[in-house]
Symmetry: C2
């Protein structure tokens, strides 16, 4: 019992260490950005990786009909098992199995609230407080956000720009210590837009195998590669190393708001028996994704036409080309050609912009002067780059590039 | 770097302490129950608190139309702010404000994946590892599940059956120590079906005020009281004590699978500034509930007819009456009359059932012999009771009661 002198004391309610250790720099920046855009120019946001701004590619009727039918049926409003319905897990398992070299069963699939919660469950189930996971730099910020809450440390491996953003395997190896519990690999990459070759993926898998480390494969941009590139799920490439593949309807199916994702457990040697039990327990905390989406996903996965995906990827490839061709003519900045996902990285030669201290001010001034909103890649642990989202309509993309050109030319000072 | 002798060692992947500390006994029991029911009798599940089994009360067309329209609009598939859209938060704030004594603004509302995640956020934002929260016994198991993952301790206060399951305030007070961070109050109660009087709620609030403790009010059964009873949100009753009211569409709106809930922050004296910031950060981990539901909730909250709620509560009250009247004629068991929610507790006089060791075996044998599935209240920290869900159709409820009668009479041995 609290001593009496605690009575009548002041109210003093602090937030917990869990909350204080949680920071999502992308959301924070976007939700708190106080910079006023140029009132004379309509804002063009190339910031958040939300593919629904693709308004010129119509969502297939099959998707809309599928979920509307589930609502009409009135049978799908109840609780589902916390890891998801068997039908939805079967559908995901069927969709991601490869006849020759990868067979998922429904109980290899854990349904989640988007890829974010899939990654959250993987990190939470594998690592204790004080353990670490090794994550890419540049890389998506959510790994650190999720680990931070739980007091799990992150260590970084570099992606080498000069090698098409492949992983610096030596550095990765040097980061492994006896508290390392997993390696996170994000392929295709946010923010780099890179796509790993089969060979590079095998090298990563070999390294993980030597150190007996499971891989958390963030494959939310899986299959989103530009024509001429090939994508491999890591699970296809190993019969030994446990792979937890995290994915969602968010990007490829352009349904980020639906909050439907999954972990696909690839574990041919059955090293993950305790981890599977852990997943089941952890899902009982907030009880799985929306039941209507679970019910409709069978139809969506089975019947979304390939032509839909193809036209999305063609549009993205065209947009990437437009941005790349335009920006590479400009002084002081170096665009990097992506091979997939929805992003393009642009290196800034800060010496050429003496009135702009860092990528963060570059982005802020670009909003203020030209109403174009990119993200400073500092929030992806990659200062002196900006990340451009390439999902907008072509005319907007061109308009944005023209404004960036004006901005760059106004601030560029030839290297003295 | 790991020493070389770690190479070639065995794979040994354990689940984390987070996972091991997570146990949801209700889900575990329901998902892992291996008992075969009597093959000659159709199973009647009175176990999980899923109101959608109410198949004889049709969901209002307004609900179905609302969400179908949002799908047709094709504007609601994108990411929302992680704490929810302003429109949906406005709708919740409007719906739960009371003109005279309670005004919520939209930024008092944090949208979540069901009431479960609302409670999760409240516990996570207030308590550190090693702190404690004080929770009811008997009480819903999720508080312990959620706290357990994070190493937050739970301490219990008793609900006094003889006082209509009111809180033993002395015991509650005696449990408070200098690591107590919040009191959880669940009204109406799962599993007790009790509804607190205004006076009792004021007593609890006074106690919280004396110890400067915020209250997490699990009000997911708010307004679900039988005719003749009155329900008060705790927020209506204080101008000082911070109340975090957790709620959802799950129970009253009969949409548990939609996973839409919220925390409503009532904090007239502004003690929770840091906690609000913490909520915002914590929501960025998995990014809010389904966007279609967020879009449709405006219409659903504004236009679901009161007659719908009234007919649900009349049906529940009738079902409660049927079960109570029937079971109170039986020897060795004592049903407790509920005043709200969807549950009825039945005390078991175990001395009268010498071949049945505990409530758990009582439940298992009832399944095996009579295909009726109740929950042993042991999982609510209340051994020697069973909990009956009263949302089934009348004929099923009567059939279940008849089977329970046969079961009780077969096993009852007059007290020797
Ligand atoms: C690499 C990566 N992983 C995960 C996510 C989160 O996906 P979801 O919206 O399905 O939670 C994103 C979203 O931007 C991402 O870029
Ligand atoms: C008291 C109580 N709180 C919270 C919940 C969880 O509600 P939701 O399904 O909205 O997460 C339940 C569900 O049974 C409950 O009984």
């Amino acid at each position: 019992r609290v001593e009496n002198d605690n009575l009548n004391s002041e109210w003093n309610i602090d937030s917990s260490e869990f909350a204080k250790s949680t920071c999502n720099p992308v959301r924070k920046l976007i939700e708190q950005m106080k910079i006023e855009p140029n009132p004379e120019l309509q804002m063009i946001a190339l910031s958040i990786g939300d593919p629904t701004v693709f308004s010129d590619i119509a969502k297939p009727d099959s998707v809309i009909k599928a979920i509307q039918k589930c609502i009409d049926d009135k049978k799908f409003d109840g609780y589902t098992p916390s890891y998801g319905t068997e039908a939805a897990r079967q559908a995901v398992a069927r969709y991601y199995s490869r006849p020759d070299n990868l067979i998922y069963k429904f109980n290899d699939i854990i349904l989640t609230n988007g890829c974010s919660q899939a990654i959250d469950l993987c990190i939470t189930v594998l690592a204790n407080r004080g353990d670490n996971i090794i994550i890419p730099k540049p890389g998506f910020s959510i790994y650190k956000t999720l680990a931070g809450t739980l007091g799990i440390n992150v260590k970084y491996y570099s992606l080498l720009e000069e090698n098409n953003w492949e992983i610096d395997l030596e550095e990765l190896e040097s980061q492994i210590d006896d508290r390392t519990k997993a390696i996170i690999v994000n392929n295709p990459s946010n923010p780099c837009g890179s796509v790993y070759s089969r060979m590079h993926l095998l090298d990563i898998i070999n390294l993980a195998e030597r150190y007996r480390l499971p891989i958390i494969a963030d494959e939310v941009y899986g299959d989103m590669v530009f024509p001429g590139n090939e994508f491999y799920y890591m699970s296809e490439l190993t019969r030994n190393v446990p792979i937890l593949s995290c994915n969602a309807l968010s990007k490829r199916f352009i349904l980020p708001g639906w909050r439907f994702g999954w972990v696909a457990i690839h574990d041919p040697k059955n090293y993950l028996a305790r981890v599977r039990a852990g997943f089941n327990d952890l899902t009982t905390r907030i009880l799985g994704p929306n039941s209507l989406v679970q019910a409709s996903v069978v139809e969506i996965l089975d019947n979304t036409p390939q032509s839909y995906f193809d036209s999305i990827m063609e549009t993205l490839a065209t947009n990437a080309e437009i941005v790349y061709e335009k920006l590479q003519t400009l002084p002081g900045i170096v665009p990097r050609k992506p091979s997939g996902a929805m992003y393009l990285m642009v290196g800034l030669d800060m010496k050429c912009f003496p009135d702009i201290p860092t990528d963060v001010e570059f982005v802020q001034m670009l909003i203020k002067e030209k109403s174009v909103f990119c993200l400073p890649a500092k929030i992806f642990e990659c200062p002196n780059y900006i990340r451009i989202v390439i999902t907008m309509k072509k005319e907007k993309i061109i308009e944005a590039c023209n404004r960036i050109e004006e901005f760059v030319l106004a601030h560029y000072k030839p290297n003295s």
